[in-house]
């Protein structure tokens, strides 16, 4: 029972990452009708925003300590971050410590800019092109983006810890009135889940309650009619692309402490998030979120030793297996509409 | 002799009753028109006949074959062809190919793995397609891509595709919608000519000019029910029909 509850927690956590990426993918697909294979790369760039910020904050000046030596026997160069020099060691260290949450603010303008640049510079020329071309060009872009990151940051994962207050874990079980020491869960993962919930809620509220969102939703349903009303829908769609990029970026920033970012983390997530989007039903935002959580939870269950010993290898294939079953029983995914991407 | 007999067909979409106990017969070799105001259920009716929609109850008999439950390609294989309201053609293929495909389907059945034959050396099919194109006056355009045709030409092409199968029954869904008067007259001529081949035709039409120049029998559908049936001249004078058409402006 506890084990199952824990796996549900795990699944919610993994699911929130899937859901956030799938949400962005669906926004882009639903509004612009573009299949964006570079979306995983946006997630990855988000994570590297956190890395960059923590590097920037740790920019240091060098002094030489003649007392100590480095590995070659030369006098040791001691690096002191500027922020520590400016704000005093403690405040400075605290600022560096908080670089991931600060990365949220840092990443928003960057991701928005990347999103705008992508849409205006490339994607907009592909609205009328076949989906295969869109896939190909965004896939090429994804490769280019990840190679650029690799060029500057290397291929190894880069540790990007959460602030100290969120390090470690706490007794979640005791908090919700269960026996202590049964359900222990890391702070940061709870933070991540709550963060994802806020972002998802925010996006839905934005689409539901603002005029802008209403126009976009109308545009998703029938682009031409909205265009006839004299509303410049294209401009709004550009903003939606930027929004999707920001969502992916934020998902990445916050994910950095969970798994140390590396340049191919986007590709690792890309295929899975496509499966998530399709299982949810192409073009359906609630579907994408629902499928993200469902697949996340099922994946966690399939990883349990009892399940694996019963069905060896099931943890490797569960997502794909579920995807096949769902697509065969529900032709357009969980919440898909008819006629989207079927020809 | 009856070629098509529809009995007790009902069809609802959610709460909306689209077809209400429709009974309908078509005699072999005749041209039978179905008319009715917008939303009368004409297209639904047609779709129920050719397997695109499954009727909730009732039977559709083609000769002594029941069409209910059959798949579209099976219905075609027993001799029912259909012309759509917006022309359904193979846009990326040439006109000649567009005609050869139905001709091959007629000759070789619903699936044939002729992976090693040469399309361009199949003289029988080619000649047939060429004749057909000549019949509809598109012979000169045989090698151009079908999507580049004008709307009227596309309709003629689609008609030619259906005719190349020598169907026993041809269903036409507004074959002249959106056509100029000259094109409409051409099409009427064409349809009259194929009358000579003894093909039974069911035409759904808005344009009364077309209906009265073609049809031997007219069925009037309103709100999913047949309200009148008879010879064109009888229908013209039927008050129920005039009422259904809001004072009979068309008539």
């Amino acid at each position: 029972m506890d084990a199952i509850l824990l796996q549900i927690l795990n699944g919610l956590d993994k699911g929130s990452a899937y859901a956030l990426i799938a949400l962005g993918l669906t926004l882009i697909f639903g509004t612009l009708g573009v299949v964006n294979f570079a979306h995983g790369a946006l997630f990855m760039i988000g994570a590297f925003c956190a890395v960059t910020l923590s590097r920037l904050l740790s920019l240091s000046y060098t002094t030489i300590d003649p007392e100590r030596t480095d590995f070659l026997g030369n006098p040791l160069k001691v690096e002191t971050p500027y922020v520590e020099a400016w704000f005093g060691p403690e405040t400075g260290a605290a600022i560096i410590d908080w670089s991931v949450p600060l990365g949220i603010l840092f990443s928003i303008p960057i991701m928005a800019f990347i999103g705008l640049a992508m849409e205006r510079g490339l994607i907009k020329y592909f609205y009328k092109r076949p989906h295969a071309d869109q896939i190909l060009v965004t896939f090429g872009l994804a490769i280019v983006l990840q190679e650029i990151i690799k060029y500057f940051f290397g291929a190894n994962p880069i540790p990007t810890p959460a602030p100290d207050v969120f390090a470690g874990s706490f007794d979640f079980g005791a908090m919700i009135g269960m026996d202590p020491n049964v359900i222990i869960y890391p702070y940061w993962r709870i933070v991540y889940f709550l963060f994802a919930a806020v972002i998802i809620g925010g996006v839905f509220a934005f689409l539901q309650y603002t005029t802008f969102g209403m126009v976009v939703r109308a545009g998703m349903a029938d682009r031409q009619t909205v265009g006839l009303l004299g509303i410049n829908i294209d401009k709004r769609f550009t903003v939606m692309f930027a929004l999707a990029a920001v969502v992916a970026g934020l998902a990445g920033v916050m994910y950095a402490p969970i798994n140390s970012p590396n340049y191919h983390m986007g590709m690792d997530f890309l295929v899975l998030s496509f499966v998530v989007v399709v299982v949810g039903g192409m073009g359906s935002l609630p579907g994408a979120v629902l499928a993200g959580f469902v697949l996340g939870i099922l994946e966690s269950f399939a990883s349990m030793a009892q399940v694996v010993s019963l069905l060896p290898g099931i943890n490797q294939i569960i997502i794909y297996l579920v995807a096949i079953v769902i697509l065969l029983t529900r032709p357009r995914g969980l919440m898909g509409r008819k006629g989207v991407m079927e020809s | 002799m009856e070629i098509l007999r529809v009995e007790g067909v009902n069809k609802s979409f959610g709460g909306l009753k689209a077809l209400n106990n429709v009974n309908f017969k078509v005699n072999e070799g005749t041209v039978h028109a179905i008319i009715g105001p917008n939303g009368a259920g004409k297209s639904t009716f047609l779709n129920c006949m050719i397997g695109r929609l499954a009727p909730d109850t009732g039977t559709v008999m083609f000769g002594d074959i029941s069409l209910t439950g059959m798949k579209p390609h099976e219905i075609n294989q027993v001799g029912v062809s259909r012309v759509f309201q917006t022309p359904e053609i193979f846009g990326e293929l040439t006109l000649l190919e567009n005609i050869m495909i139905p001709a091959l389907a007629k000759r070789d059945g619903d699936f044939a793995l002729h992976a090693f034959a040469r399309v361009d050396q199949d003289a029988e099919i080619r000649d047939k397609a060429m004749h057909m194109l000549e019949d509809v006056g598109l012979a000169e355009k045989r090698d151009i891509i079908a999507s580049s045709l004008s709307r009227g030409d596309k309709r003629r092409l689609e008609l030619a595709m259906c005719l190349s199968q020598d169907p026993k029954l041809l269903l036409l869904d507004e074959p002249t919608a959106g056509m100029s008067r000259a094109d409409t007259n051409n099409t009427i001529d064409l349809l009259k000519r194929i009358g000579d081949r003894g093909i039974t035709k069911v035409v759904i039409e808005h344009d009364m000019h077309v209906v009265f120049s073609l049809a031997e029998k007219v069925t009037v559908l309103a709100q999913g029910t047949i309200i009148a049936e008879g010879k064109p001249e009888d229908i013209k004078g039927d008050p129920r029909v005039q009422e259904a058409y809001l004072g009979g402006a068309h008539l």
Partner: protein, 400 residues
């Protein structure tokens, strides 16, 4: 010739000529010149060009004709490879049975996958095929290790039974051969500074690929091929024309799966190892890229796309800074430093970047792939010619 019309015959002969003369054409630079780095005329790469060419030709029969975008075709190549290696382990080192069994296994597997996946269309079909391929990859890499040898890849061993052959020759694993002709055997021709290699394995691939290409041409020109194009064009009309589109698409799927298996079989015939990675989604994506880059739906485009990608992968990845400095050794040091600095990100470990940029450029500017590039060049020439003809031949029309 061979039941092809004139145009196809000349295309076929052109391809034949290119394939036969590839050892010359791909080695245009003298052996010890600086540009020898760009020579691709060595057996392994030439074999790869043809093998992936076959793979792409097959994929094109499905994608180019019917428009069904499979994202899992690498699985059939992988299954074919495994079957081929097992044949060489159990039966004989003659490559013929291995190739045949590869095609059969890949065909059966694609029948299964196709039967299920073709119940859906569009992106739902793509995701179904992707799911099957990823499952195959994951399982082959892990729990199926006893059959596939997992991470390492299935390979030959000294104690394989090889019923119709020998387990080992003087403590070595026997070489793959085709009725006695070893796949590794090569003739070499040295002409001045040039060196040309004619490899037995390559020419076996060449024969197989020409057969595969011939079959593809026949399919393209057959009623069956026309029906497949009809599927792509308008499936609704097809059904109302009395054609059952499912068996057509399934047949195309299985045929292209068998092509993939053939490629897998040839791969192990040339190099008897079957790695699980060749089933990964990236490998499936690669053949999609090859086909689209070359020109989907064209006869020869996919082969060119395959050559393009394999060339990038094998040639650019091997250029390192040292080689760059050698190239620019004649220039002043500062200039060569700058040049190396600029080029450095694109070569060696940066070959992915080069490939990514090339994809984007081709897709952006040549939607019809490399073939469209050729057509444009061709048009440019014919226009020029026409202009010349106009200029020289036409007398100015007298004004009225």
């Amino acid at each position: 010739m061979l039941g092809l019309d004139k145009k196809d015959t000349s295309l076929f002969l052109l391809v034949l000529l290119l394939v036969v003369l590839a050892p010359f054409l791909l080695n245009p630079f003298p052996e010890n010149s600086e540009l020898a780095q760009f020579n691709a005329g060595y057996p392994d790469l030439m074999q790869r060009f043809l093998i992936f060419g076959i793979f792409a030709i097959g994929f094109n029969i499905l994608f180019g004709l019917t428009g069904y975008l499979s994202f899992g075709h690498a699985a059939f190549l992988g299954v074919g490879s495994y079957a081929g290696v097992w044949m060489m382990k159990l039966l004989t080192m003659n490559v013929l049975p291995a190739i045949i069994i590869s095609v059969i296994f890949a065909g059966l597997f694609s029948l299964l996958v196709g039967y299920i996946s073709l119940r859906r269309s569009g992106i739902y079909f793509s995701i179904l095929t992707l799911a099957f391929a990823q499952m195959s990859f994951s399982l082959a890499y892990s729990v199926l290790t006893p059959i596939t040898n997992g991470e390492t890849g299935l390979q030959l061993a000294l104690d394989d039974p090889r019923i119709l052959g020998v387990s080992q020759v003087d403590g070595s694993i026997p070489l793959a051969h085709f009725f006695g002709v070893n796949m590794r055997d090569s003739f070499e021709l040295s002409l001045g500074g040039w060196l040309f290699t004619f490899n037995a394995g390559y020419y076996l691939c060449a024969v197989v690929m020409m057969i595969a290409f011939y079959i593809a041409v026949r399919i393209f020109r057959s009623p069956f091929g026309m029906m497949l194009r009809a599927v792509k064009s308008n499936q609704q009309r097809m059904n109302f024309t009395g054609l059952n589109s499912r068996p057509y698409t399934l047949a195309a799927f299985v045929i292209s799966g068998m092509y993939a298996g053939l490629a897998g079989g040839l791969m192990v015939a040339m190099d008897p190892l079957a790695g699980a990675e060749r089933m990964q989604w990236t490998a499936s994506g690669e053949v999609v890229l090859m086909t689209i880059l070359g020109g989907a739906g064209t006869l020869i485009g996919p082969v060119l796309g395959a050559g393009f990608i394999k060339y990038c992968e094998n040639i650019f990845s091997k250029i390192n800074d040292n080689i760059l400095y050698e190239w620019f050794s004649a220039l002043p040091e500062a200039v060569s430093d700058i040049l190396v600095f600029v080029i450095h990100p694109f070569i060696g470990k940066g070959w992915h970047l080069t490939l990514g940029i090339m994809f984007m450029l081709i897709v952006i500017f040549l939607p019809g792939g490399i073939m469209e590039g050729f057509q444009r060049i061709g048009k440019l020439f014919s226009r020029k010619k026409k202009k010349e003809a106009d200029a020289s031949g036409a007398t100015p029309a007298p004004a009225e």
